[in-house]
């Protein structure tokens, strides 16, 4: 059972991650704010509660793997890794700059610790996660593979190939988290290309489906606890999040998918994040 004080502590970590995400984006002058803020609670839960990992030993063989398929939310991923101790937080301010280890979309060859996969071309990460899950099964390893997917990303046909294969191989060591914020670059997912009935789609491909309030820490933790108990099939968590969560004036606004706060907006955005948390 997760204690009240643990949940409060995780919420304050999420606030810190949001603030650093905004700072790095404002400094970079480009990047994806909406999805990054929306996923801050999920990333906090993963790296500060769920994942079995060691920031001082990022290549530890038995670590849980986090595959970020939607590479464009790199800002919240980096802010989380820094908060967890993979590298110094000051490096966040190099995001997207020449020579930085913090590429616009995660790239392993630039040397940042904690990146399992170079990704950013949508529709590929879940396939890689399936490969990691198959390898773990073959080697009788106990670690799990988590994959963060977007809802717009589910429009890529290759994702459904991956979903089909995970069901076929009954990969109960695989958990996908779908950032179900119901928006994408061109607008609401229901208008751009409808996804519903999403739960039934996953179920018909042999997955266990869990729905979760993706910006509610207590609910997130409870859902992950259940997800790790699934047997003989993969699990997807449809995490209902709000794009831009924490900054009241941009919440739910799809136009914030791919732009950063301006430098003169930063202080106000940070204040909104802090007010939302208190």
């Amino acid at each position: 059972m997760v204690t009240f004080s643990k949940i409060e502590q995780l919420k304050s970590v999420a606030t810190e991650i949001r603030v650093n995400t905004l700072k790095s984006l404002a400094e970079a002058g480009s990047g994806h704010t909406g999805g990054s803020l929306g996923l801050a609670d999920i990333f906090t839960a993963l790296y500060f509660y769920v994942l079995n990992h060691d920031p001082k030993n990022p290549k530890w063989e038995d670590r849980d793997r986090l595959v970020l398929s939607i590479g464009h939310v790199a800002p919240v991923f980096y802010a989380t890794l820094a908060e967890a101790g993979y590298f110094d937080k000051s490096e966040l301010m190099t995001l997207r700059k020449l020579g930085s280890r913090l590429q616009g979309h995660p790239g392993r060859e630039h040397g940042l610790p904690g990146i399992e996969l170079s990704a950013g071309s949508l529709g590929q990460g879940l396939s890689v996660a399936v490969g990691m899950a198959l390898a773990a099964k073959a080697d009788k390893k106990q670690h799990r593979i988590f994959c963060v997917n977007g809802d717009g990303e589910l429009q890529e046909g290759s994702v459904w190939e991956a979903i089909m294969s995970a069901g076929h191989y009954q990969l109960d060591n695989l958990i996908s988290i779908v950032d179900r914020n119901r928006v994408q670059i061109d607008g609401p997912t229901s208008e751009v290309m409808g996804l519903e009935p999403l739960k039934e789609k996953f179920e018909s491909f042999g997955w266990e489906v869990m729905e979760c309030e993706g910006n509610n820490m207590e609910h997130i933790l409870r859902t992950f606890a259940l997800a790790t108990k699934t047997l003989a099939k993969p699990t997807v968590i449809l995490a209902e999040t709000t794009m831009g969560k924490g900054v009241a004036e941009i919440e739910g606004d799809y136009r914030w998918h791919g732009k950063p706060p301006k430098k003169d907006q930063l202080e106000s955005f940070i204040n909104q994040v802090k007010n939302a948390a208190s």
Binding site: V67, G107, R108, E109, E116, L117, S118, A119, G120, S121, G123, Q124, G125, L126, S127, V128, A129, V130, G131, M132, A133, L134, A135, A136, A138, D139, G157, S158, E161, A162, M164, S165, H168, Y169
Partner: protein, 319 residues
Amino acid sequence: MKKWTNKGDKPTRHGFGEGVLEAAKINSSVVGLGVDITGSVSMNFFADAFPERFYSMGVAEQNAVGVASGLALSGKTPVFSTYGVFSALRDADQVRISICYNNVHVVVGGAHAGISVGPDGATHQALEDIAVMRTLPHMKVISPCDAYQAKEATIYAINELDGPVYVRFGREKVPNFMDENYPFEFGKAQVLTEGSDITFFSTGHMTWEALQASEILKNENIGARVVNIHTIKPIDKAAIIKAASETRAVLTVEEHQINGGFGSAVAEVLAENQPTWLKRIGMPDTFGESGQPRELMEKYGLVGANIAQKAREILSRLK
């Protein structure tokens, strides 16, 4: 100079399949992925011997590439093989990002290379795969000339190389002429015949045809040097420059589009280092079609007699 003889026809895909099996016998990390044409690309040799290390992925090539990447990132040595039209073209983005950008050791097979695929026609004849694969950072491209070399090269690609590798091979039975005196050395071109008039740089099945052309020309007192280039990337620049500097003209011969492929790779080396009279033989920016393999090779000017004729033409212009 050695006279090259056919020891018996054999498809290069069988050489590939035997290579995967041999590599897997001594390397327990080798795993295989099949996409419903497992037998057709000779992955069945491996799958039958090591069923627990073989993953059937269905008719879903894009996913299979990502799965291969995930297996490689977990310490496995995946071999993923399908027709080159799929592994290099349908999967281009997955190969580019999940394999090459991650620089993982995955051996990608490109089967049914070239027009000699025959009756299946244009959809199944890989004629653009070299062009795509050789432009991807970290990717290495191997195009063996016969089944013997395909086996050697495949074992080497799996057990000795690192990072992404593309191995290209064909469908039809073709002459098997290589032997242990000409071992596969990654990145090293092989001079198969000497000659000082013209050089034939050839790859894949076309090397046998280039040898036939050099035999034809020998009777006319034209010395054609045949250089087999089984490693298209990294390409053996020194060998190309040397042969070009010692002969009067160059012909490149490939079962692939002349644009962007093997001939272009040779031309790039020579244009920058040793400007030389050069002609490319291959598919002239056109799709293939149905027909018997030999008929198609003749129609598109890819048999020994065609190569010899091209050589006469280019040499007569230099007189």
